[in-house]
């Protein structure tokens, strides 16, 4: 009962605009005070606070953010798009394909859905509109492509999940690779099919000479090598995720300097943005950990797990119900709030059913991604609308629908074939 009241209180505070981390931490502290007394609650909260800010593994977050900001300063977003546009831009729907590829590439250095959608939207959307693409189709492609940023390793969402669920961040990154590739391919297939059905939505562009294409591809080789070193290093056990983040940040700084994009201004801006975002994430994580302590004392997760066990519905049916619940909550809550609110409750349930926490992390982030593009919140859709205010939000919603269908198909594939996420970590282990 106290657990349920805690969840309701949290939802009320979130609805009233209280910062996510503070809402979770405050509910957790008050809940712990009621359950174990004020003294123990204060000590518990302070221990979580101190352990979080001294935790070496948490250093992975600011360092990967720093890598992203240095890459951004080095012009990564435009270069990824230019390379993909050079290769396939002349085909019907080619610029949309280039946007998806650019999103996957930039997602690997940004680790954030919002940043990917906003950045690629600034670059890809005006270009597609200039070439006569349908506004609904173009904005839908960028909004959907932006979601790749959440799952593409090194992903911020996976790092937060790994910390909350106490799972290996390296394994989560490795497990995300096949789902990201298949998601990208499904989006591309959606574009090709849409262009076959209605060729007018994406006219072909003039072909670029091979020499220019080569130059565009060469410009991203260093960035691609950076991402490859970081991911291969983690997957092959050369270094831990925190060390990989340090290597990534150092290499991206060097890369920024080699590209002659490193100025005192850009250096300080990258650091300032990193501090601001990591500060926000630290508060969210501390709040979530205090809330998770409270939840573990309430026994809510165990009660739900027992209920699920009594229903004897099996892992697949349970996962489908969880997916529906996450999609429903994801339509009113933002991704981070959704993860932090539900992961401490859902994870023990799925673990009791014998579901791998690594697979669950990938499934969770994938479901969360869908929330970025489905109404009524669909934050990426509003990002598109803010980049191009003359495109009505209804047209952005209409444009994203086919990609949403691809998302549901992909989610179904992930549920039906868990090996999509689990094969690579098992193989590399």
């Amino acid at each position: 009962m106290s657990g349920l009241l805690g969840v309701l209180a949290l939802l009320a505070l979130l609805a009233l605009g209280v910062p996510i981390g503070i809402a979770m931490g405050a509910v957790g502290l008050v809940g712990l005070t009621i359950l174990i007394g004020p003294e123990a609650a204060l000590v518990k909260g302070s221990v979580v606070f101190f352990e979080s800010v001294t935790r070496f593994e948490l250093g992975v977050l600011p360092l990967f953010l720093l890598m992203a900001h240095f890459c951004f300063a080095a012009g990564a977003s435009r270069d990824f798009f230019s390379a993909a546009a050079g290769l396939v831009g002349h085909r019907r729907g080619g610029l949309a394909l280039a946007t998806i590829a650019g999103c996957a590439g930039f997602g690997a250095v940004s680790g954030s859905s919002l940043a990917t959608a906003a950045t690629m939207g600034e670059i890809g959307l005006p270009e597609m509109r200039r070439r006569g693409y349908s506004t609904a189709f173009a904005s839908g492609a960028v909004a959907a492509g932006g979601t790749l940023g959440s799952l593409t390793p090194p992903s911020g969402a996976l790092i937060v999940f790994g910390i909350i669920a106490e799972q290996s961040i390296g394994k989560l990154f490795t497990a995300a690779i096949i789902p990201v590739v298949t998601q990208t391919l499904l989006y591309m297939a959606t574009i090709v099919i849409l262009c076959r059905i209605r060729p007018s939505i994406a006219p072909p562009s003039p072909r670029i000479p091979w020499a220019e294409r080569g130059k565009a591809v060469l410009r991203v080789l260093d960035l691609a090598a950076l991402v490859a070193v970081v991911l291969a290093g983690i997957a092959l056990g050369w270094f831990t995720p925190t060390e990989a983040a340090s290597i990534g940040a150092t290499l991206s700084l060097v890369l920024c300097a080699i590209r002659k994009r490193l100025t005192w201004q850009s250096f300080c801006e990258a650091l300032g943005r990193t501090l601001r975002t990591s500060g926000m994430l630290y508060v969210v994580i501390i709040g979530a950990l205090i809330f998770a302590s409270f939840m573990s004392f309430t026994g809510l997760a165990e009660q739900i797990a027992a209920l699920v066990h009594r229903l004897d519905s099996g892992p697949t049916a349970t996962i489908i119900v969880i997916a529906l619940l996450l999609l429903l909550l994801g339509s009113v809550l933002d991704g981070l709030a959704l993860m932090l609110l539900t992961a401490p409750i859902l994870l023990p349930i799925t673990t009791a059913l014998g579901i791998s926490p690594i697979w669950f992390g990938i499934f969770f982030v994938r479901t969360m991604e869908i929330g970025f593009v489905h109404p009524p919140v669909g934050i990426n859709l509003y990002v598109m609308h803010s980049i191009a205010p003359d495109i009505p939000i209804g047209r952005v919603f209409k444009g994203v629908l086919p990609f949403l269908a691809a998302d549901f198909l992909h989610l179904a594939m992930l549920i039906a074939v868990p090996a999509m996420a689990l094969a690579l970590p098992a193989w590399l282990a």
Binding site: V18, T54, L275, V284
Partner: protein, 158 residues
Amino acid sequence: MDAMNPEKRSKRGPLFYIGAGGLLAMMVVETAAVLGRHVGIPVTGALEIAQACIVFAACAAMLVATLQGAHAAVHMLTDRMPRPLQRHVFRAGSVLAGLFFAALAAGSAWLAFEYWDSYEQTEVLHIPFRPLRAVVTLAAALASLAFFHRAMRAEQKP
């Protein structure tokens, strides 16, 4: 000086330099540790140095986010409220945030006091925990003050 308004406040104050210094030091130490390990010259206690650096980076980062009003929140409902009601709700949110950080500061101070004589330190380099506990307590207290200050003004989203 207007510490609560990101538009007016200098972006490169002491907090920026403390946080950026911690972050860059951690980056350099960890990179050196990886390179050292692969070329056979291990950096002794790199993890402990990084751990100390992250305390400064994390505490400064939380304060930067607080002072710049950058904490993640859901504004779907509050954005539709009338302006006066919105102001009251933001003020209440800031008070709650101030109380939350005040509780963490009080708890951290209590723990620091309890462990003060136990000479907590890291295993390899013997980095003392006392200053780290003091930094964490100070950061929570400053964050609390910043939120209470915001509650008194109630002009910005928390």
